[in-house]
Symmetry: D2
Subunit: 435 residues, 4 copies
């Protein structure tokens, strides 16, 4: 967890305090169920809730006990016993550490995902607002970094909206994957604990019982979870890269907001750099990389080994904290993005008329020229524009083979920008349900 890439709400999900509080709740809910089915006294369950609920757990003390026992759950239970008193012997009856650890981890992941879902909503809101704002802002579309044909800046943002809308769905599915609870004992057989305890705790925590666990909740769930976060990070990288391209000096169609007092370079006072989106690119690399150890965590030995644990101590917090930060940063970038329609217009017309080459090509084929010939005719005139700065329309009108197939009026008609934007409303309706 890197402080500069962390936001407090998400950080708090992963604090020691939060963790021990969740551990306590799992144990206490389990006691309720154990009391209900008569394994422990109801009075004990009540005492545990009261005394444990009021306790301020001392993280340092627990750590100290762990240094002797080399076992974190035992250390916590020992500490908890100090608050609860003699009834503490009814806690953790028939449970195994992983019942607590794994259920807690899933509670944390679910809480983290709820924050991420809210982040996503905010990002989608910003994208939608700016998309409608620039629905008709014409700009050149580019393939291979080369001018292709016109589109609108709104369509670019609509595309991002649709992509993150899919990411929201994926995030929801990922949340579903890890929203399970296991209180199934040492090897998952419920030998020492009735399955009804698991059902009760699951319900109390808003989770579903894991249909069959071993000592641990199966890690294919978590692999899917972190892989999903990696995909979302990759979408962040895509949009960040788009903005970085738009801001580069020669393009300059959009810019990250540059705050008063900000300095772009210690050496070059003229600089305004897309540092936020570059930063997002790096953060995306990190979140993506966590998918790999998460997948390697799946193949635990037999009913469990503990190799997954250290991995999760890194990637549980790091992946969610970083993604939370990245989504919020991206939302800010989109929200305040400086957009330069004039510059878009100037870039679009850099090679006069060249972007209409396909329309001319199609018109020629419609007029009976073979596809191969049409391509050759258009390409030879296009290359003059490209290489010598000629005007595409002028060149076409001066090419006898072209004018043999198309009249001047027909050719001129192909140079209309509106032609390219006529379906923008269709696209918006598909993405936003309205145009």
């Amino acid at each position: 967890m890197i402080p500069r890439y962390s936001r407090p709400e998400m950080v708090s999900v992963w604090s020691q305090e939060t963790k021990f509080r969740i551990w306590f709740e799992i144990e206490a809910h389990a006691c309720d169920a154990l009391a209900e089915i008569g394994v422990i006294p109801k009075e004990a369950a009540k005492t545990i809730w009261e005394k444990g609920g009021a306790a301020q757990f001392d993280v340092d003390k627990i750590d100290e006990i762990e240094r002797v026992t080399k076992h974190d759950v035992i250390a916590f239970l020992t500490h908890l016993a100090e608050f609860v008193g003699p009834d503490s012997r009814f806690i953790h009856q028939g449970m195994t550490s992983s019942d607590v650890l794994d259920t807690c981890f899933n509670v944390q992941l679910v809480r983290a995902t709820d924050i991420l879902l809210a982040d996503m909503d905010a990002l989608l809101e910003a994208l939608k607002r700016r998309a409608f704002e620039h629905k008709d802002t014409v700009t050149i579309g580019r393939s291979h970094g080369i001018h292709a044909e016109p589109t609108t800046f709104g369509v670019k943002l609509a595309l991002a909206y649709a992509e993150f809308d899919r990411c929201r769905d994926r995030l929801r599915a990922a949340r579903e994957e890890v929203a399970t609870c296991a209180i199934s004992g040492a090897v998952g057989t419920f030998a020492n604990i009735d399955p009804r305890v698991e059902e009760h705790v699951a319900k109390a925590l808003g989770l579903k019982p894991e249909p069959v666990s071993t000592q641990v909740i199966p890690r294919d769930r978590h692999a899917m979870y972190f892989a999903t976060l990696g995909v979302i990070a990759s979408s962040i990288e895509r949009l960040a890269t788009e903005i970085r391209h738009l801001q580069r000096t020669e393009v300059l169609e959009a810019e990250e907001y540059f705050s008063p007092g900000q300095k772009g370079s210690s050496a070059m006072p003229h600089k305004r750099n897309p540092v936020l989106t570059e930063n997002l690119t790096g953060l995306a690399r990190m979140v993506r990389s966590f998918a790999m150890p998460a997948m390697e965590n799946v193949a635990l030995w037999h009913e469990r080994d503990i190799s997954h644990s250290s991995v999760e101590r890194y990637i549980g917090p790091d992946a969610t904290v970083t993604l939370d930060f990245a989504l919020a940063r991206l939302t800010g970038v989109i929200d305040k993005l400086l957009v330069y329609p004039e510059r878009m217009d100037r870039n679009l017309n850099q090679f006069k008329g060249l972007v209409h080459s396909q329309r001319v090509l199609l018109a020629l084929t419609q007029a009976g020229v073979s596809r191969e010939d049409a391509y050759r005719l258009v390409q030879r005139n296009a290359m003059k524009v490209w290489e010598h700065g000629a005007d595409f329309l002028t060149e076409l009108l001066g090419d006898a083979e072209v004018t043999a197939a198309l009249s001047e009026a027909e050719i001129r008609e192909k140079f209309d920008i509106g032609y390219h934007t006529k379906h923008v409303d269709t696209i918006f309706r598909r993405v936003f349900g309205k145009a």
Copy 2:
């Protein structure tokens, strides 16, 4: 694509012949729609279907043309024109190469996924059959590779069933992700092609229209697809690792089927090695690794660059062909797995009675001993079994502190295997809906 890890049906999805056939169908379906809305003559669309449908495309010839044009779709269209004749000029009207390439790639992925889904069904069937066969075959559960408490071999297989059942759901979701079609033109604006063409082609091919595309179908979809395959591969690795462990000489509770004539080693004629599951472990590494370049493919520049293409030429076939092979191989392993219940029983009793340590611990706490004292009492007797081969029951009965809390009958009662299997039916009902 490694021949020894390939099965013909999946390989054929990725053949050049299949690809060109799909390209043709996309173009021909598009012509139908173009004819319907009056852009090209209906007769032309009919001719295209007839002549193109009857054509035997010559892969070598297309390659030859590509060597000149350096463009594969143009090469194909040139070849197609030879069959179709003059009406060929109506083909590909207003479309861009990616309309064909991306829609085709998705058709191939969907077909591949349908094969994978069938593979998954077969695997699930095998797991279910063997799970019920061994529902009551008691075996030791292990955490950290160390004996923990008894479970049944059927529960192990039920766990695998539940895991692959989740994988089936994920695979279905992944199929959904990539089952889209884009016929949206050079930068996705439908400038030269009516959106109705896309709708028609999508429907004809069993796909959904991509709500908003650029020149390409957004690659977050494919990242999600290959990440999902990586997760499934990781589950294969888990089950393969379980079997490898069970087959190791000192354990030998199960073995891969060893066919007549098979040789385990060129040097050591006594060897019977778990080579199939070791092989699956390696294959899983490969399929998993493909998730990474798939995620890096998302951040294409602007409306597209072509960096994703080479990656997909590798991982499209390699991931699906390898996973298909791996699922089938795993199904065979499960189907014919030699299971040795006697050996399971012998291993379970290797440390006489030690697996009942938790029950004794719980009984002591129930009898009023503090958790810490109970743990200490049980641990000191357990260590004698572990270190000197003592009998756990005898040691307990000879420990005055233990017998002060529990009677001999109470202690003996804790050494019952049935205690551990009493909830197996519950687990089976959760997983299979019946027990």
Copy 3:
């Protein structure tokens, strides 16, 4: 192995024919040593070389035998015996399959690396030639995609040269890593084979004996090998990305060579796309991804398991064939790169004089202005250029706070391009040993 990304020489390293030929040589060299130390008759060794050396191994037949034995080395030995006759019983004495397989794999990797080293030399040669050609071609240096200060195109290429020169060193080190031979028997103890056999075979094949092997040559060597290839691929990606940027429409300072007859787009005849460097970007992703399974291959169980084998059947050929192709493609791109110095000059001057901002900043501090004030002064004038297209020099001369510290002559003197290129010779001497 994707045919379109493969070159014949490297492909042949990995052919079945090559593999069986190397297997034979390993066995025959071993026979020489066995004969020398009296384990088998010298006559037998001679016969084996003669009959085996003349044999045309039939790949299909060997495959057929393997389908029964499920063991490739046994299948080969059975086939070889058909040629050699009764003396074939002296082949493979005391050896284990991995002695042959692993030594062969390393021979193939060494041969592959020799090709890669030659590729690297060709790339370095091209970079050097173009670097000197454009040593003095002034161009804008960019950080964050934003104009920074001038450099020369030659310096850019010198940087690439230095990077690939490091890559050559790394490749040599990687070759060293895998240039070992193991003929050490079933678990590496030489129980059935004298260590002198290993020494002889190693020397005959240009390898070093593996100091201690198990059944296999330790896979940390191969992990290092493939990780190195991944790093080299990343350097290819860097240079490819640079060129893609330079070719984008708004920059257009350099272009991949566009051959006669080439078509950039099926739809837009005006397009000239950096498809080769985009392709290299994708290939780099693949080669990089292979590092991961190679690292996972290290942790084999005990003296070996065979999980690494399937991984290596993919990445052995795929990594080296792809990298060979990529290096050759990159060499071609550099060799024929179209460079546009005029456009470089035009871009450099897009914001008149702004690139000199640092010099003015430094002059102000030298003149006694505090760093903070100097930064503020320069930034406020720079922003006018950036935002309103003003001329930087004019703005500075009109700023009283600036002229209070620096005379007009002093300010004008800061606007000299030569100032930025005065150490280019130093850099070239560092990189190439001459300027």
Copy 4:
């Protein structure tokens, strides 16, 4: 950085305090050189060393300034100026932030690597000691987890020694990769700073000047660095996996030291789990995963973008701190490993005599039996041992086809363990230079 997987010395390399101290030293050394060549007054350089050297930098204050300037180096320089006074305007003359940042990062990596090298020495020492201790401790070698032929536990450890010895060499090479310094200005042209400054600073810090830098030190160096750490982590995983296998209940040939007071399980007091080596397995996954973003960092845009920076804020500390911890933990495990020779002996003889199958096979071929027949004869007797617990020697002596080729004495002679260990001294001499 996870506190429980961190050691203080390595953590301090990455503290804010250390970083700012190194920044100061880079600036101050640069001032020395600038004074020497007459750019700034010598007195100023002296003052800067004196006042800056005595200063206690306030991390919080620097952070506060950065929140305004959004630039960390400027924030530091502003803070430094408070201590140095007016002469502070001579600091950072002609330098760019990256000169400081990148050189500092490399200083930190070099210091981190020196710690890792010391860790490695300690690990090698422990491996060597235990290897000699168990040079003659016979144990079964296993391939595929299946008994193969005898080896010694010392040979296993010698193998690990040789592997980590290679890792030490790789670590040294990795240190060499990143031990460079760049003080080359905004785009690496030395426009505003004489190359002699770089040479001076490099020498003062024990680094080499980077032959050609852009704004940044090329990231292929760091990619190679982190890839190397990933390979080393994979070797840690290998040895950890070996120990985990040896400790599993059915094998139990070695055990991690179990300290007094330690608890293996909250539920099962009998457990002694290989938790340290399982933990190392997880840590290895993490360190390995960092290689991927490090490689993605190479392809920065033009003369630099800042996407690498966030990645390095994670992996710089995380990779080195985790690897330091892992190496130390592994050293402790090896140092205190409980080894059970009696159990090794018992396991070795589990299938009586079966491990001698190859010797019998070879004797049969030497006696004139064809390889195929010999294999068949040995395999059929071996399978009886495997499947029915027969005694291999007895079976062979009762097989007429076997005794037709070999006398009883000849057969009995093959059942000698000493045969397998006769070359252990050779191996030790190869690895340790002595036996």
